[in-house]
């Protein structure tokens, strides 16, 4: 009469904590996860196909729509990838401004991650505290490029405009208070017993598994591998910046939380260096109105907030549009690790694991 049965449950695609339209097929034995299978593609728009039919200048607009939380990082990847394809050297001032904005965007992305991750675990107030600071950053982006989220901040060869008047002053205002804000988040979470209980030892993924599964970014660094593309393969002006790559060895959710907080402090440091050492000069290289490529292929990786973001371009002779464009999206690759993180654990840990991977579905599905 009575029999044990595993329950299959669909977490998503419409679910409060799957950060978009992620669907996770779970088999549960009580509350224990027996198997976990992410199902993606609900936000697939065919960005790669679209970009094959847009010019090198137009395609950048589509990159905003992938990782919409860190669109400036995506813009940077596209712009630098195309510049690598054509061999364009960007003026030093433009590089600095790019670095500045990309780091601010990293802050915005990490703040959003912190906000939603804490909310997923039930800590509600951090959400609004983090959004307060993110709002300021978005206002800065708006003053620079007129858009808060879908920025299309850069141009091939540099920037369209220099920084607007007052930008540096406003950015400095943010700089002056941001570290205190990070401390404020820490007072709510870092030593919170429940937060520690919910995160320590949860969703562990050791360094070997991370590397085998291609997981990059803070998740890899929380496993003790100091791999940061900004250091390993410097791009933009990162070669001239002094910063550290924070690592932890626990490889769990709490370690990733600490790594991301430390990264916010390092980003703050990089922004400060950019603001102080901003060189004078032009912001745009001389490039023709129409870019016509040669037969060429490049792969340009950058360190997006979520991990390695790679742009792969194939150019054809005389082509104004990429023959092939491929995005190596960090969230896409990182999400592969989800089953390994949660199988055999509890349902609530699945939520923590999705949060700690920091996935953005716009980027996974493209």
């Amino acid at each position: 009469m009575f029999k044990n049965e595993e329950m299959e449950i669909n977490l998503g695609p419409q679910h409060p904590s799957t950060h978009g339209v992620l669907r996770v097929k779970l088999r549960l034995d009580g509350e224990t996860v027996v198997s976990c299978k992410p199902v993606i593609g609900y936000l697939h728009r065919g960005v790669e196909k679209i970009c094959e039919n847009k010019s090198y200048f137009q395609g950048q607009v589509w990159t905003d729509r992938m990782d919409y939380v860190a669109s400036i990082s995506n813009n940077l990847g596209w712009a630098e990838g195309v510049e690598k394809l054509f061999g364009i050297e960007v003026p030093r001032r433009a590089k600095y401004i790019r670095t500045l904005l990309t780091e601010q965007n990293r802050l915005a992305s990490h703040l959003l991650w912190l906000a939603t991750h804490a909310l997923d675990i039930g800590a509600m107030t951090v959400f609004l505290y983090a959004f307060r600071e993110r709002e300021y950053l978005l206002d800065l982006f708006e003053s620079f490029c007129g858009a808060r989220l879908t920025t299309t901040a850069f141009r091939i060869g540099g920037l369209r405009e220099d920084l607007p008047p007052g930008f540096i002053k406003q950015a400095q205002v943010f700089q002056d208070r941001f570290l205190d804000c990070v401390d404020e988040y820490e007072t709510l979470l870092t030593e919170n017993r429940i937060w520690k209980k919910r995160t320590i030892g949860v969703a562990r993924l050791n360094a070997e598994d991370c590397i085998a599964l291609g997981v990059t970014g803070p998740v890899l660094r929380a496993a003790g591998v100091p791999y940061d593309i900004r250091k390993a393969f410097p791009y933009a002006a990162y070669g001239e910046m002094a910063f550290e790559v924070p690592t932890r060895t626990e490889a769990d959710t709490y370690a990733r939380y600490l790594v991301r907080l430390a990264e916010m402090r390092q980003s703050h440091r990089i922004i400060q260096q950019c603001l102080e050492g901003l060189p004078e000069g032009p912001v745009m290289a001389k490039i023709p109105k129409i870019l016509k490529s040669e037969v060429n292929e490049v792969y340009h990786p950058i360190e997006a907030p979520k991990g390695e973001l790679g742009y792969y371009f194939v150019g054809e002779k005389g082509g104004t549009m990429p023959y092939r464009m491929h995005v190596r999206a960090p969230s896409f690759v990182n999400l592969q690790a989800l089953p390994k993180m949660v199988e055999g654990r509890l349902l609530a840990d699945v939520i923590a694991a999705i949060g700690t991977l920091d996935v953005v579905l716009g980027e996974i599905d493209r």
Partner: protein, 389 residues
């Protein structure tokens, strides 16, 4: 007891009972929306946002001209402090007028019954809670039917009030479990299992912690207990230790019993969408909502009555240091009771804005491995103090 001291006819008894019940019901129906409003505002201020701002106190609408005039006179309009207050009317209207959806595969009867059980259990408890252990006022002589009768601060003065309350409160979980089961859906099922396990586990330390004041005062009656515990008659000053510990254990279990943060696993919205009431809509959901907030008020009222000295100013036997002849603070007052209830309700909101949520197994750990042993030790200490000192 005063209600039995005055002889009453059957009509008078029934009418008086009805009036008392209506008064409490209306009070609760006012308290619950006020509580939701307070929740919006308090958590809003804690989270650097405004909370509800529409309706009242703005520059437009019915009260707009008045507010504008007050601003023009250089004064802050009174209503601007209460901006968003009438939203509870909008909330209630919304819940009442919303389409009431019953899922096709749900068990219709049980699905309808569940919120009723929940709300009945929550409201029934109020019958035995004494807000004020005496007469609040006497109806004037000329009043029809009830003229000359006293209006009490409680509906019935049950001498085993505690047992009644605990018994009825544990009925509430049936509402959750039945509702979730009848929804025939997976998330509610998980939520209800969590809720059942949670409420059953936490009922033990809750009851055990409530035994401390019972043991110390030697009574199950609200009135006697409040007097004994607040004034500490015949109690050692050491009694404050088990009472204090018992209070915090009780509060923790109260959070769990009412499914509030950090024990809101049954409806953990980031895990189970909305937990046991995922499939509910309209006023059926409204009943669950009402029951949750009514339960909060009950828990706060019990905490006040049992641990915080009830309607006396000071708890834990400290009232003895206040001379009974002192004006106002020396005498029991309904105001003290109300303020203490508000204080605990504020703690509910405060915790909600601060703490994350426990995981299921950790919740069980806290309940079984920490709270139950602690309450047992506490009870032992209380017994020791009661009989050894």
């Amino acid at each position: 007891m005063p209600s039995q001291a005055i002889p009453m006819t059957l009509t008078q008894t029934l009418t008086m009972g009805l009036i008392q019940i209506l008064a409490v019901l209306i009070a609760v129906f006012i308290m619950v929306p006020l509580l939701t409003f307070a929740e919006r505002k308090v958590i809003g201020y804690m989270q650097v946002r405004l909370g509800a701002t529409r309706l009242a106190g703005g520059h437009v609408g019915i009260t707009g001209p008045m507010n504008r005039a007050m601003w023009a006179m250089g004064k802050v309009p009174m209503l601007s402090l209460l901006r968003g207050l009438p939203i509870f009317i909008a909330d209630a209207l919304k819940l009442i007028t919303k389409e009431d959806i019953i899922p096709a595969k749900a068990d219709r009867g049980v699905f309808t019954l569940a919120p009723i059980i929940s709300v009945m259990a929550a409201f029934g408890v109020f019958a035995a809670v004494a807000y004020f252990p005496g007469t609040l006022f006497v109806f004037p002589k000329g009043f029809p039917i009830v003229g000359g009768l006293p209006f009490q601060g409680f509906i019935t003065d049950v001498n085993v009030g505690l047992l009644f309350i605990l018994g009825l409160a544990s009925v509430g979980v049936y509402g959750i479990v039945l509702g979730a089961w009848a929804s025939n859906s997976k998330y509610p099922l998980l939520g209800s299992l969590r809720s059942a396990a949670q409420i059953i586990s936490y009922e033990v330390p809750l009851t055990l912690s409530l035994l401390v004041p019972v043991l110390l005062s030697g009574s199950l009656n609200f009135k006697d207990m409040a007097v004994a515990l607040a004034t500490g008659q015949g109690l050692s000053p050491l009694a404050i230790i088990p009472l204090f510990i018992g209070f915090f254990i009780y509060l923790t279990c109260g959070f769990a019993e009412t499914n509030r943060v950090p024990f809101d696993l049954a409806e953990a919205e980031t895990e189970l969408v909305a937990g046991f009431h995922t499939e509910y809509s309209g006023m059926k959901f409204g009943f669950f909502y009402l029951a949750e907030y009514a339960n909060m008020i009950v828990v706060s009222a019990l905490a006040t009555a049992f641990f915080l000295g009830g309607h006396f100013l000071l708890p834990f036997g400290l009232q003895r240091f206040v001379p009974a002849s002192a004006p106002f603070i020396g005498q029991p007052s309904f105001l003290f009771f109300f303020l203490k209830v508000c204080l605990i309700l504020f703690a509910f909101l405060w915790v909600r804005a601060t703490l994350p949520r426990y995981r299921y197994d950790q919740l069980m750990d806290v309940g079984w491995k920490w709270l139950i042993p602690l309450t047992l030790v506490n009870l032992f200490v209380a017994a020791l103090i009661r009989f050894a000192f």
